[in-house]
Symmetry: C3
């Protein structure tokens, strides 16, 4: 069995931001030289997720507005735990809509992404420097 | 390491539809002849997801009604991007509740599904012909 | 390829309860003696999920309150299917916010959990005895 790990480092610029990382993931996949297996894209954070969606500026704005409406602004208990002056209970709850990771099948040397599928790093509590995403590919 | 890929093709009949694909996934798993590993069920689409839930007609209706209420009907920015006359911003947002894939452990020649767990293809923007789900099994 | 399966059994005490299982998962991981691969944490149930979040008593209370508000109390069609006197349509809908499993990369003999990431078993329809979580590690 072969395996390959690549760490993608991301500086986010806005409080909420869907960042397309498909090219970086594909590049890591190419370096892995794995042709059959599974590829896991993993966010190392609790207020930033990985999600697969269509890439389209207007849709990413819809997604941001949807999450802002779905998790009302206001005061959350966790806001009292803030250590850096940024109460972020609300951002942790937005993360419930997505996952820490997505796993994509690899076959015949291709990541099996659909025509409209891009892989996003979803920053929910930015801006932050040095966010980390791991791309782990295992297989043969 | 062994690996196996099976493509399941699905024609959906309704705008929203939870389709039980457990039997097709189990069939692919049997063909894989893998006894220890991981099985990934992956939707190749951005307005159709894979989710694990209890199979029960009334529950699937509850799930449809819940998603319809959770993502209000109305106009979304992405609706302006429509290329086939079907504005579907709302359906993309429903997909935030689920994932592109689910990964199930395989042990002693069995998929470790629980007694009440079935695997569903969740069509959110149907009806559509030729939806694709990949079943990728890797292991030994 | 090596693989390892560990079953974690959990008795839950409350109707809704986020139980930190990170230590049990890490223990299973250590027993696997796998240094490169993927680790899948899988809930064997349809009203209990696996999710990764920051561990913090106040945040877990926020998460419980959020789910209770997001899925209104009331009557659901699935409530008519109850077999043990506990109508639980609402709890199945809460499960839409999370997944049956999370998959974590393993590299250089470490689970790649972030500094603030803990793994939770999310009981949505407790209390229940003998809930099962599978930890499956595959790799080399």
């Amino acid at each position: 069995m072969k395996s390959y790990l690549k760490t993608i480092s991301i500086d986010t610029k806005k409080p909420m931001e869907f960042i397309d990382i498909t090219d970086a993931v594909k590049s890591a996949f190419g370096e892995s030289e794995i042709r059959e297996g599974l590829l896991n894209v993993y966010s190392n954070h609790t207020t930033a997720s990985v999600t697969i969606a269509e890439k389209c500026e207007k849709l990413q704005k819809d997604m941001e507005e949807f999450l802002e409406n779905a998790v009302p602004s206001g005061t959350y208990l966790h806001d009292e735990d803030t250590i850096d002056g940024r109460p972020n209970g609300r951002m942790h709850l937005m993360a419930l809509y997505m996952n820490a990771s997505e796993t994509v099948p690899v076959s015949s040397g291709e990541m099996m992404l659909g025509q409209w599928q891009s892989i996003f790093f979803a920053e929910l509590d930015g801006p932050r420097e040095g966010r980390k995403v791991f791309v782990k590919v295992i297989g043969s």
